[in-house]
Symmetry: C2
Subunit: 309 residues, 2 copies
């Protein structure tokens, strides 16, 4: 599991940062990519990565501001041109379906795959399958905006095949029973308890990716014990008033959310073009005393999300 | 007058070429930029040039395929963010107004300038003022598509001030009369005919920028005696059948249009990603016997449009 940042800027594209898009790479977990927001030229950024558009399985839109959605029609078209034929689901606020459908209709674009929309009206679980649960909450932005919490289910412990082989227990249907935690009686009379041969279960990881927002309780809820929290930092320490007026956050507010939620790592994105070079890194430095494990991300940064412990 | 190519590729963006956009730079002529098509990430390409979005006065859309329009909402928004407040007019096929208005509405984008639309239904003159006339014609593409002919009005000859000064004729209202071609009687009895002191008029330039099209008579009409013809070449020599099937042109067909129209220079654009490096230059080389002054343009190429003679 990795997070690849395709665009980390605020408002308009600049030479340093494209407008917002974040890819959650779940290649080992489900051979899929999930995207969060698709600002203009996201497909151009994808060209600079190893991401194959056909692997994009889900797109989560936080809100409908142009710098978060204007790349969507182009990305969807190119996914089709490039032979993508697997279904794709788009989650987002009311209006996202209209925008996409009208863009595709006007341009007479026919997609070679089924496109499904899930328009969000409230917080709660929006997706759940064998491996992941995704929930959302409304944030505090100028227009309706959602944050997402992606929870990987725990991995059950693996059967310790090496140990069993060392005991000369031949592989076969017995292994299945042992893996299920049952006790098996061998022909020689020995009794083996599967539980003794199952490794430690691995705790699933939690990634929280928020949209544009003021500091909010919903953010804390979404980020509870998250392994990684991706939070906007359009403004710097000391600019709380501006942040409030423009419905955004400062670096300090992002750190306070991470700290309160007990998150493990904070990644600051949606960086204003006013902060370039050293000034951008300052955004992380100035919150070290509130939340030490903070980093300002740049376009094309790839961040690993390791298992706990 | 210069033409700057912001995107010269076909269909999808590639690492080498962005999707279509062409800027006609009329900085000396009217302190303005006119754009022809605005594919996705045109505003990103603009960042690499000296073009200021606020100087964009008119945008001409050839047709509504995504690779020609998906950059429009973003460019319009950024023009506003960057302080553009002069009016902007968009010309294009029916549907362009809906696409732009819905994109701006969904994203709650408020532009800080008046935006006007002129939806085209047929060929003819679509703009005319003191310095330029623009006309359009329907081309032959899969969906309704227009080509544009931009005609600069002739520049009247300049009053030859140096000559008059050499005759010790002091500047003043007399100069205005002479410039108007009148005969003026000086106090010393000399009679001076203004026509003798007016330089040669300068013939206005003609630039023809076409959209995607099969070889068509409309193209020839639009390109008649053009100083520069910008023509698509999605396909190469020998691929006439493919070009026909996909409603595009080959390099040879583009050259035939230029030759038949008596154009002075042919610029090939809308180059398929199948042609990179040498293979792209081949497109021009293979038509040298039909139309010698042919060139394949690349992203960010700037081509001067000089006065005749
Ligand atoms: Zn926003
Ligand atoms: Zn087209």
């Amino acid at each position: 599991m990795q997070i690849e940042f395709l665009g980390t800027g605020a408002g308009s594209p600049s030479k340093q940062r494209n407008v917002t898009s974040t890819a959650l790479k779940l290649l080992e977990e489900r051979n899929a990519i999930w995207m969060f927001d698709v600002g203009e030229a996201t497909q151009h950024q994808v060209l600079k990565t190893t991401i194959r558009p056909r692997k994009i399985e889900k797109i989560f839109i936080t809100h409908l501001h142009g710098d978060h959605i204007f790349g969507l029609p182009g990305l969807l078209s190119s996914r089709s041109h490039q032979g993508g034929n697997g279904p794709l689901t788009i989650y987002g606020p009311k209006g996202i379906e209209d925008f996409v459908k009208i863009s595709l209709k006007v341009s007479e674009t026919k997609l070679g795959y089924p496109l499904k929309f899930v328009e969000l009206t409230d917080g709660g679980v929006i997706f759940n399958d064998k491996t992941f649960t995704v929930s959302c909450e409304k944030l505090d932005h100028k227009i309706e905006c959602f944050g997402y919490r992606i929870v990987e289910h725990d991995h059950p412990g693996e059967l310790q095949v090496d140990k069993l082989k060392a005991l000369n227990i031949p592989s076969g249907p017995i292994y299945g029973q042992l893996k299920a935690g049952k006790t098996v009686n061998l022909e020689d009379g020995t009794s083996i308890d599967g539980k003794d041969y199952i490794g430690k279960p691995q705790q699933g990881r939690v990634v929280t990716i928020l949209g544009d927002t003021r500091k909010s309780n919903a953010s804390v809820k979404l980020a509870e014990n998250a392994d990684v929290l991706v939070h906007e930092s359009t403004f710097a320490k000391g600019e709380g008033r501006m942040a409030r007026n423009y419905y955004h956050s400062t670096s300090v507010q992002a750190a306070q959310v991470a700290q309160k939620a007990g998150a493990k790592k904070l990644l600051l994105t949606h960086i204003s073009a006013r902060y370039t070079g050293k000034a951008a890194y300052e955004l992380a430095y100035q919150v070290k005393d509130i939340f030490a494990n903070t980093r300002v991300v740049n376009d094309l940064d790839v961040i690993d999300v390791p298992f706990k412990g």
